[in-house]
Amino acid sequence: MNLNTLYLAVAGLVLGPLLGGLAAGVDRVVTARLQSRLGPPLLQPFYDVGKLWSKVIAPASHWQGMFVRWALVASLASDVILAAGGDILMCFFVQAASASFVALGAFCGNSPYGKLGAQRELFQLLAYEPVFMVAILCLAKAAGGFDAFSIMAAQGQPLLFKLPLIVPGLLFAVLVKLRKSPFDIAASHHMHQEVVRGVYTDYAGRDFALLEVAHWADVTVVLWICSFLWATGPLQMLITGLAFLFAALLIDNISARLTWRTMLKTVAPLTLILATANLVWLYLE
């Protein structure tokens, strides 16, 4: 490991969650404008986390604090792996570990809403993980390597032209990871719904603040991987990531929540078949 890798890793550690927080701020503003509201300031998510951090609330289980820390470390680690040019498949596995810890913390709690949310979180995982993984396999195959640098260094034609069929799958993963309708199934980001706050119900105070930071780090990783589709330069990557973000926000605002059964039986197989077709096509080329 050389010094350059170390700098990049530290940059990923710091910038990953910050960019995710900014994306959350953009989300709040854009959603408000779409609904003809003014909306909060761009930095509102950071103020929210600051407020949560100042609260000390009794935990719902002795194990929750531990799982929250583990989730946070895993999410940040996935940012670092990507920033340091590591293996994107391992980055994906580390991020899946973070999602598992969030669900486990909810299982340990005592609220039925939290446990219901945890079950749904797992079915979400089951729905988006395969297609996201196949999309990663496609990216690696098209770029000729699993490490993030060789994908970002893929010169000439953007990968999008070789991989059009993984776009629905990636968008699906973005919608799930950002907890957006119609796949906001486990956490009910929009409040006062039948599972209250789902998998997040039992988390409060500092634990919840850290979980929010972990979520930001996750958002950065997912959007970053999407941006590999047009990785001809940093600006192009930023634009691609933002394009996925805006698409997700738009879909969130014009669609109602689906059930987990529809997600698992229709959306997941459909996107998976498309991505698989793309993978096979890369091999036939």
Binding site: M1, I57, A58, P59, A60, S61, H62, W63, Q64, G65, M66, V68, R69, W70, V73, I81, G86, D87, L89, M90, F93, V94, A96, A97, S100, A103, L104, A106, F107, C108, G109, N110, S111, P112, Y113, G114, K115, A118, Q119, L122, F123, L125, L126, E129, P130, M133, V134, L137, K141, F146, D147, S150, V196, D202, A204, L264, L272, T276, L279, L282
Partner: protein, 623 residues
């Protein structure tokens, strides 16, 4: 010295087993089993210091030994035939007769193969299996001591049948060590049949109707595997006049020739490794006492199959047979993971997960590149420790509460904290980075570069496994409103559980070094940075561990919040006052999504598809 180690590894357990027949006292039996565990562990470690090596100890190399092996190829099927006739089981009779016919043809219809020069070749792969058998297998035998005493009290046998039980259990370990070390195909096949016999006797140990049925099912399926094995060996003898395993796994030998014999051996391996559509015998095996299922699933029986495939792997690289074997393995990984997800029976979850993980290893063998073989060996070792741990934990919890249903195991962390936490850690070790199972899966996925369909199947199977194990852990750790009283435990059962737990985590962390130790020439260097990504991840994981433990220490003293119920908590725990002043009682359950993962339908579909793949495996080699 090497000969002495080999003798201890193969003969001592068999002798100790015979000795246990004469011991009726619990204390003497405990001493014998603990002594055997110590001897095997010491001999295995001694062997590890010498590997790789070749040797010809007299008891495996002499003409008498070869005659015994030849005799065994008639004796075992003859005994199976006897069992089949006694139980009037047509399939057992049929396969036993076929085996006898093949043995007779090999003896009288074919010229004898060239003499095998060295009787024992111990390389990284053999050593891996010997270590698994001698360390994990003996720990399970120790666990069996208190377990079988409780078990017999529970079953109400008039005379104790523990002497026979431990005889077979210990002898099984010796046969497995022999199978791992021998370099002669005929001796290998004799040990293979011996493991079939042991598993039949162990599964049927309780002599209930269900046990008998499951035992016979294991017998006919594995003798079918024996038929494939014999047929493959005879074809090799006919084509090459060889019985030397090391000489056989030279790709140059097979250049331009049909791989049909190897496809048949692969098929035999798939039966032993309980691959779809042969998974039924392994599922039936869970009616046996827990130590038996732990032994069959983790360190013995099923490992024969993956060991055989990994042994053949260098020849399979880049061949159609190899590609089809990869597809079949990946398909079992997918299908069995889906079947595991739909189960609430904890032992069935473990059984399907075993089949799935073995599928992954067989897929590695089919790929056959050095990276893939390294990944397969790492998976084989780590899986043995992890699955052994999980079986012992589930067995222990089952004895504590009298049920093996996941719904009844909800919140076990309050009743048997040590075992439940060990089970939680074991199930996390199945899926979490940077531990061995995930590292192996990661390496396999990247090594499967030549087979896109198997990569997709592995991706889906991997997601299914994650969901299955997180739910398993979550259910065990589930918070419950009603406080429970801890159940009593024995140090002979918690000892092996904690040792296996340490082994699971230690081996899981040690995957790169395991690879370097066992297969120095075949490291996973072809991955980006090789295993180099793992050590920083270990450091990160340790940091997370320390952070988590600090918070756990702080929070475990905290007063817990009242459950959020969307209503007013009422005086009785687990109930609340909801809308319109109605009183609601809480109940919990997991969603098993049986409309998607239901056993009956899924088994049929997966069975048909897997049969097609295996037929293609044989047919493809035939053409």
């Amino acid at each position: 010295m090497i000969d002495a180690y080999i003798g201890l590894l193969v003969l001592w357990p068999v002798a100790a087993g015979l000795a246990s027949l004469g011991l009726r006292g619990q204390a003497a039996r405990s001493a014998l089993v603990l002594g055997t565990a110590a001897v095997l562990a010491a001999a295995a470690v001694g062997l590890a210091t010498q590997a790789p090596f070749t040797a010809s100890p007299a008891f495996l190399a002499s003409a008498t030994a070869l005659h015994v092996a030849q005799g065994a190829s008639f004796l075992f099927p003859a005994y199976f035939l006897f069992v089949g006739l006694k139980e009037k089981h047509a399939l057992v009779i049929g396969f036993a007769l076929l085996q006898l016919g093949l043995a007779a043809f090999g003896e009288f219809g074919l010229p004898a193969p060239a003499v095998v020069k060295t009787a024992v070749v111990c390389d990284g792969l053999s050593l891996a299996l010997v270590l698994v058998v001698s360390l994990v297998g003996t720990l399970i035998s120790v666990f069996a001591l208190p377990y079988m005493r409780h078990h017999e009290e529970h079953q109400g046998f008039k005379t104790s049948r523990q002497p026979q039980f431990f005889m077979i259990l210990l002898a099984f370990l010796g046969f497995m060590n022999g199978l791992a070390l021998t370099n002669d195909l005929h001796v290998f096949s004799a040990f293979y049949e011996a493991t079939t016999l042991c598993s039949f006797l162990l599964i049927g140990h309780d002599r209930t109707d269900e046990a008998k049925k499951s035992g016979l099912r294991a017998l006919w399926m594995n003798s079918m595997g024996g038929v494939f094995l014999h047929a493959g060996i005879l074809l090799i003898q006919k084509q090459h006049g060889l019985a030397d395993i090391q000489a056989l796994v030279d790709p140059a030998l097979w250049a331009g020739l049909s791989l049909l014999p190897l496809a048949l051996l692969g098929l035999a391996a798939c039966v032993k490794a309980a691959q779809l559509p042969f998974q039924a015998w392994l599922l039936g095996a869970m009616v046996a006492p827990t130590p038996v299922s732990a032994l069959l699933h983790s360190s013995t029986m099923v490992k024969v199959g993956v060991f055989l495939c990994l042994r053949l792997a260098p020849v399979l690289e880049g061949t159609t047979t190899g590609r089809l074997l990869t597809l079949a393995g990946a398909f079992t990984f997918l299908g069995a993971s889906a079947l595991a997800l739909g189960q609430s029976n904890a032992k069935k979850i473990l059984a399907y997960s075993t089949a799935a993980n073995l599928g992954l290893i067989i897929a590695c063998a089919g790929i056959g590149t050095p990276v893939a073989i390294a990944a397969g060996v790492v998976l084989m070792v780590v899986h043995a420790a992890t699955k052994g741990l999980l079986f012992l934990c589930v067995g222990d919890m089952e004895q504590a509460i009298g049920s093996r249903d996941l719904e009844d195991l909800r919140g076990m962390i309050a009743k048997t904290p040590v075992t439940a936490l060990a089970a939680a850690a074991g199930s996390m070790a199945m899926i979490l980075p940077p531990l061995g199972m995930l590292a192996g899966k990661w390496a396999t996925l990247e090594a499967a570069n030549a087979s896109p369909m198997s990569m997709v199947m592995m991706a889906v199977g991997s997601a299914l496994a994650v969901v299955c194990w997180v739910r398993f852990t979550g259910t065990l750790m589930s918070g419950v409103a009603v406080a429970a009283t801890p159940a009593p435990t024995s140090s002979l059962s918690t000892g092996p559980i904690l040792t296996l737990l340490a082994g699971t985590v230690g081996l899981g962390m040690a995957a790169p070094w395991l690879n370097a130790m066992l297969l120095p020439a075949w490291q996973a260097f072809m991955l980006p940075d090789g295993w180099a990504l793992l050590p920083p991840l270990f450091l990160t994981a340790m940091l997370a561990w320390i952070l988590g433990m600090k918070v756990l220490g702080r929070q475990s003293a905290a007063k817990l919040a009242t459950p959020y119920l969307g209503g007013l908590p009422s005086a009785a725990p687990g109930s609340f006052v909801g809308a319109l002043g109605r009183n609601w009682t809480l109940s919990e359950g997991n969603e098993y999504a049986t409309e998607l993962f239901g056993e009956a339908k899924l088994t049929r579909i997966a069975g048909v598809l897997a049969s097609v793949l295996l037929l293609a495996l044989v047919g493809g080699a035939l053409l």
